[in-house]
Symmetry: D3
Subunit: 247 residues, 6 copies
């Protein structure tokens, strides 16, 4: 069960999160899961979507885009087509939903935080990298407006995501593109710092899976998430202490 | 743990599948999960998407739409907006993917089967009703072109879907709209006739969930799926025997 | 001059109007002209188009859509194309205009009533069925907001529509699809309960027509309209008395 | 019954058709009905819409557009909105349908003739001016490809269109914009050189109309059409003899 | 160095500007540079784009469109495509920018003046004709709202534009379409009445150019501009005195 | 005449071009002009636009996009709006045109080379940085398909671009965003390795300029271009020798 890049089946690729990657954004990171590279930029906007106007609550929303040559063959820009693909819709809804699960939107107040996830290079796992990186950018952005405020920090817990898949010869963590193409079952897992599930999305387009296989994927995924959480904490340094702080 | 409509927590709503609901389609059903009503129409088209041309393989694709007054307040037509919402994209991708998991696309040959799922009334669970009903329409459509062909019937297994959710006071099967609005966790489960998972999509936007809660949802969902499979078989009558037939 | 379905030349198909077809709409019917089946849903919205803001007047607007397998071969969804066809524009403008001719928009006040006409099955005459059915849904919707109000009911007269055509061998009422395809001249007629014309649209794409032929079509059409008006009245029962009531 | 511009009730505005208005088009006119001015340009294209490929038949199609300051207040370009209005769709379908009624599409062969109707100034009756002018441009365009061909000229008859309306004080021919705004009933009439009807479109949005009123409108309209036909013939000069020529 | 139409290399085509070409617009001209014909209509709108709301300043914006048969082969309407081409964007941005350079937007106050440039016939130089003609329409439109106001007239200087090109055998002024197609370098020059440059756009797609060639083009262009300015002044008559008037 | 960052008026910002920035593209660079950072990715596609099919000639085309937080306040994605802005159209047309001026499209053969310019950070001069960087990516992409081919290398000359502007107190090279916002005149200059002009685009929206000022801008710009050409050559190393090689 050796992999193309020599990793063990339950081993993550080299993960790196570079903070303050962009000059203007309130929070921004370059997140790398091996050759997968995503810029996550967080913007604080002083308004909310229409359904929240006057509610006192805030919102977190994500947008996702593949750069044309992030992929092996050039993909046509969605701006040139004039509309988003279904895949993009699905991914950006997932990212937004995941991040909203760990933020206290009432405490945030009537603000929207946008997470722009632009994929420079796509070698599998772009959505899980985007969630993992966006969490760090979100912490920075919230911190930029929270400052020395004595109220509890509105981000209640850590959040990371990883992919797991069943290939013909076993369960593998953090699939790269060539593995993903051969996966019989593909799972994306989003979990919090306290070990709760936020999203469990297992899909068997090329095959189906049993309860046992599901459990095996969850178990391997959980281990990967724990390592990602450690990397986030290290990256955030002192700021990590604010997450989940009761005030 | 009594519900608004008197059901038990692990009880499905009244499910009804009416075959041959439309005059022109190769397969069509009206599927009802309580007040949720969806028309599923299957069309056989003698061509395939560009990426399959010349491959000898077929395809199954789904489209989903809410009629404007399927919902409590009128929703604006996507045709009037000029584009699909992210929710529609997500649902129709799910339906297509789920159906493809039980059909032998090579055996089908270079044909596309379209499943049009139009929601007349939306009282929660439209996507699971759409998958469950579309499966029946798909069997009819494939049968219409397969006839007395002695080759194995290309639909390899049954397929049904159900929703399960965690509400503040427990785990519930087949949520209606008012329950769905209060759910802390929402899961959609797609399974085959042989008890394998095809899709497990658990989402905790208003909260998170533990491994134990995940297992409870899977267990309740599995029971619901078994009943749906029985209803499909009864609805299909003699035709049910063709599904998974080895030839 | 016998027809495929055995009807006389001046005979309508079997017409059926089922009220309260949908659970949520303020008014809704399933209208059937033979195999042509259209759902007409009326929605009351507490706002008006920009050009009426502050005028004190209301508006009635219609939208029309063919479900993909309402037709013999699947028609591509307008939502997927991203725009409405010219035919759809033309039909929904006709429906709205026709309904506005019998409602007192000043008495209605600053409200919009939307009529959503979704064609389940299209066997010719969908626009005339849609007008005839929408009228009933409109009465129900207006009644739902008018209640026991002592002011004159704002719907001033009945309204129905029928198609007539010239085929190579004569003038026929209420054409089904196969007849419509062979028609030399096609006319749609909208009339009120008091026998006035609202719309006369005669089109001779495959031929032209004389004054005498025009008169023959109007005469046959008028008879058909009278029967449709009777069916509407019977369907509405007691409520029929409110239409045109002076208060 | 005097009118703002001193015309009699059954009198046309000053009508002028200038041929060869544009340098590049195969046929082109500037048609003026009083202050209403429309450029009609005919283009011969050596292909047909998909539904006619290989049929040996041709097609005639029209496009219609208001220039932004053809109207009293500036109207937003449809190109800027990104889509056509319903009104534009309705008018361009009418123009195309009307022209197709007098051309032998089989004789034309697999060609499309486009009629581009661009309104420079809109003072009522743009669609009837467009049909009347487009007919002349169509004759020129067909002539440009027919030359001295001895086969029957494919344009079988003349074609003109006029509007008639019922105002509070009577029936009027060829309404200008201010009259049109006050019309209770508005009718557009398209007729052939031999006095047959092609389109009768009577609409009573602000009121309804009786059989007698319909007859009065048809009678006044017919007289107007006859004058328009004379103007077309005079404009075409020698070429007028080719229309309807049996070969 | 004789040209197809007998002009000298540094000679303009016959230029004609007809004022008050349209009935409804606040200012309108038909501008002709030889066979190139453009309608320029100026509209005064009592609002400004969002970024100027409350600023007290006005705006000038242009839209440009080729009529389908302004060109040798029919060009598809941008309204039918649903979007503007890059060429259109580029040209209308240029026209707006050029006109804004000679108007005192603060003095104008919170108004937008739209310049609609619709090309009837395109024989090269449509953008320079559009700028030259729009200037005259702009003066008329501003005059229509300025009246006998004693404040300085907000148009500060004259403005005209011309094209110059390098063909294989020399530098030519005001290229017609056939010359433009063979040009190695194409330059558009916009200048004020006082001889200042507003835009210098030299492009060498089929070749490159030296400093000397640039100077030669600027010199020939400047002479052409001077003649255009004279024609504008003559066309405006008395009104020409208001331009640049200090009050 | 000192600048915010201490540069001299005729001094470029720190320029850096990093080759092979992306894993999959045939050529790719990260180009930095100070804080302006643009990824330029070159893709070789084995087909040409319709107007070149069968011509034996190739094409070079560019697309340009600002990432949402490349700018001080977040800009809405063009994919979300569904269309490109005029500014984007203008810039990507400029980039494509400029690159085509130095490539022998016949020698290239029926291939398209796409240049995708994605702006990570926008601090003024993104279009000139994009042209300068794209040239290097283009050389790499052409080299990847040319290999040891003995035919003349199809890139005939070097190409670089720079901005120059007139501020209230003088002429400045390579404006950063804050300078650009205050510029009275803005010029973009594209030149070849042999000192020829490809594009001269001088625009005076906030003012106008004289011949002397134009000359001063061209002179300062030319010096900047020379330094950029040196940086390109150094970056390309050995490969620089192929450019303009006669075979």
């Amino acid at each position: 069960m050796t992999r193309a890049d020599g990793r063990a089946a339950d081993e993550l690729r080299k993960v790196k999160i570079t903070r303050n990657y962009l000059k203007y954004a309130e929070g921004s990171v370059l997140v790398e899961f091996g050759d997968t590279k995503v810029i996550c930029a967080a913007t604080v906007e002083e308004k909310v979507p229409p359904f929240l106007k006057g509610s006192g609550e805030g919102w977190v929303s994500a947008e996702y885009s593949l750069m044309p040559r992030s992929t092996q063959s050039r993909n046509v820009r969605e701006a040139a087509r004039g509309k988003l693909t279904g895949r993009t819709h699905e991914i950006q809804r997932l990212i937004g939903r995941a991040l909203r699960s760990v933020i206290d939107l009432k405490a945030l107040g009537e603000k929207t935080i946008w997470l722009d996830c632009d994929v420079l290079q796509a070698d599998g796992g772009t959505r899980t990298a985007a969630i993992t990186g966006s969490f760090v950018a979100l912490v920075d952005a919230v911190n930029s407006i929270w400052g020395e405020n004595s109220k509890p920090f509105p981000i209640k817990d850590f959040l990371a995501a990883v992919s797991v898949g069943i290939l013909p010869n076993g369960v593998y963590l953090d699939l790269c593109y060539s593995e993903d193409s051969n996966a019989v079952v593909d799972m994306n897992l989003v979990m919090t710092g306290s070990g709760q599930f936020v999203e469990v999305q297992g899909t068997g387009e090329k095959g189906t899976f049993t309860q046992e296989e599901l459990n095996a994927m969850l178990s391997v995924g959980r281990e990967g998430i724990e390592i990602l959480l450690d990397i986030q904490k290290e990256t955030l340094g002192q700021l990590a202490w604010k997450v989940g702080r009761e005030g």
